[in-house]
Symmetry: C2
Subunit: 261 residues, 2 copies
C-alpha cells in the first residue's frame, strides 16, 4: 500500500506565523500522500473574548455554546483552514479545506447530556474515507478542520486529535497510514522537565509498564489509548513529536516518540 | 450538453434564517447539476463592527483592510459556506464549500492601486473549471465563497457577482449554464417602484434602447454588462429574479428578467 502521512497540528504552531510557515515548508517537503488536520490554537478563544462571548470549561473541556460554535466555525472552518490552503498552494501543493459537512465527510451526533452538557460538541459516527481517497489518489492534500455535522443541518465542534485518529482509521484499508501528532514537548517523556528522558519507542508492553509505574499519566493517557487503538485497527505507525521534527520523520535520527503495535 | 443551474445569493436571503431555509429548499429541488455562489450579506459588516474594525467605503465599494480580510475569510469562507453546506446535506444534497484557494479554483491578483487602494481585493485571472466539473459530474454541488487567492499565499476578497459570472464562463464549454442572480426586486424594472414594470426578457437590442432612454442606469449597468458578456462567451441564459422565484425558473410563469443573446 502507498504511504500516507497524516499530520495533526494545533496550539503553538497555529498561533505563531513564523512557526506555521516553517511547518508548511516541512509538510510540503514530506514524501507521498498527505493529510493535514488542524486544531484551533488560541485564535478561537481570542476571538470569543473580543466578542465578549464567555467560554466555559468543565474538567479541562470547553463547553460549546451556540455563539461559541459560530466562533469555531469561523476560525477553524474559515480563517485557519483557508489560510493553510493558501499557504500550501503557494508551496505548490494542491490542497483544499474540508469540514465534516463538506462531502458529508464526518457525521457525528451531539454528545448526550449526562453530568455535563457540552453543548454543540459532536462524537463521530462515520468518516467517509472514500471522499478523501479520491482526492489523495489525484495528489490533492485534504486540510481537515475539527468540525463535524449531524446530517440534519447542525455543525458540531469535535476534538482535533479524535478527528485525526478517525480519519487515519478511515484511510487505513487503502493506505499505509503514518499518523503524526505534533506536540509541545519532543514526545512522550519519562520526566516532562527533562528533555533527555524522551521515550523513543513505545509498544503496548512498554506502555503498560510506564502506566503502572505512574510515569505516563494524566492527559497523555487518552492520547496514547487513542494511538494504540488506531494501531490495533490498521494504522501503520503513530508518532508524537514537535512540529520541528517533521523533516526527519522517516530518518533514523528522528526525534520523537514512535508508537508501534 | 447537460444543464447546469448556477445560483448566486446574497444580501437579504443570507441575513434571514427563514428566507435562507426556503432558498435551500428551492435550490435543492432544482433539476440537474447546480452550483451555489454566495456573497456575505450584512454578517461581515456586523462582525467587523462588533470587533471595532472600521469598514471604509469608496464609491460604494468596500476597502478590504488586512483585518477586514480576516473577517470576510471567517464569515464567507467559514460561517456562511459551512452552514450552507450543512443545510444542503440535510436536504440530501452532497455539497462542499470552496474558496478560490481550495484546489487553486480561482486565482487572482491584487487590484492595482490607481486613485483608490482597495486593499486585499482580487481581480480574477483564472478559474479552474475542470475542478468544478469533476464534482458536478459526480452529482456534487460546489458552494463557492467570494474569496480568491494570488498563488503566493494571499487570500483576496472578490465580488460575488463577478465570481458567479466567471465560474459560469469556466463551465460553459461543458455545460448548458443557466446563471441566476437573485435580487431584491423581481428583476430589472422599468420603474423600480412599480412592481408591474418588470422587464421579462432583455436582449442586446432592448438593453441598448433602455439604456439610451435612461430607464436602466446606475448599479444595474455593470450587472447587465457582465450578463451580456457571459452570454457572448457561451453561457446559455442569465436571469435576474427574487430568490422566491427560483421554483418557477424553468416554467412559463417564471417571474423575473430573462437575459438572452
Amino acid at each position: 500500500m502507498p504511504r500516507l502521512t497524516l499530520v495533526k497540528i494545533g496550539g503553538k504552531v497555529l498561533d505563531d506565523p513564523r512557526a506555521l510557515a516553517g511547518l508548511l515548508d516541512d509538510f510540503s517537503a514530506l514524501p507521498g500522500a498527505r493529510v493535514l488536520v488542524h486544531g484551533g490554537g488560541k485564535l478561537a478563544a481570542d476571538l470569543a473574548q473580543r466578542l465578549g462571548i464567555e467560554t466555559s470549561m468543565v474538567g479541562g473541556r470547553r463547553i460549546t455554546s451556540r455563539e461559541m460554535l459560530e466562533v469555531v466555525t469561523m476560525v477553524y472552518g474559515g480563517l485557519l483552514g483557508r489560510q493553510l490552503v493558501a499557504g500550501l498552494q503557494a508551496r505548490g501543493i494542491n490542497a483544499l479545506s474540508l469540514t465534516g459537512a463538506d462531502l458529508d465527510l464526518m457525521r457525528a451526533h451531539r454528545r448526550p447530556v449526562r453530568e455535563v452538557d457540552f453543548g454543540y460538541v459532536g462524537d463521530i459516527d462515520a468518516v467517509r474515507g472514500e471522499a478523501l481517497h479520491d482526492f489523495l489518489s489525484q495528489g490533492i492534500v485534504p486540510v481537515v478542520a475539527p468540525l463535524t455535522h449531524d446530517g440534519a443541518g447542525q455543525l458540531l465542534n469535535t476534538n482535533a486529535d479524535t478527528i485525526a485518529s478517525q480519519v487515519a482509521l478511515a484511510l487505513a484499508d487503502r493506505w499505509e497510514v503514518h499518523l503524526v501528532f505534533t506536540f509541545e514537548k519532543p514526545g512522550v517523556m519519562e520526566d516532562p522537565d527533562d528533555e533527555t528522558s524522551l521515550i523513543r519507542v513505545l509498544d503496548p508492553a512498554a506502555y503498560a509498564r510506564y502506566r503502572e509505574a505512574g510515569v505516563i499519566a494524566g492527559g497523555m493517557l487518552p492520547k496514547l489509548d487513542n494511538a494504540f487503538a488506531a494501531l490495533a485497527n490498521g494504522v501503520a505507525r503513530v508518532y508524537i513529536c514537535q512540529a520541528e521534527a517533521l523533516p526527519r520523520l522517516y530518518q533514523p535520527d528522528f526525534v520523537g516518540t514512535t508508537i508501534q503495535a
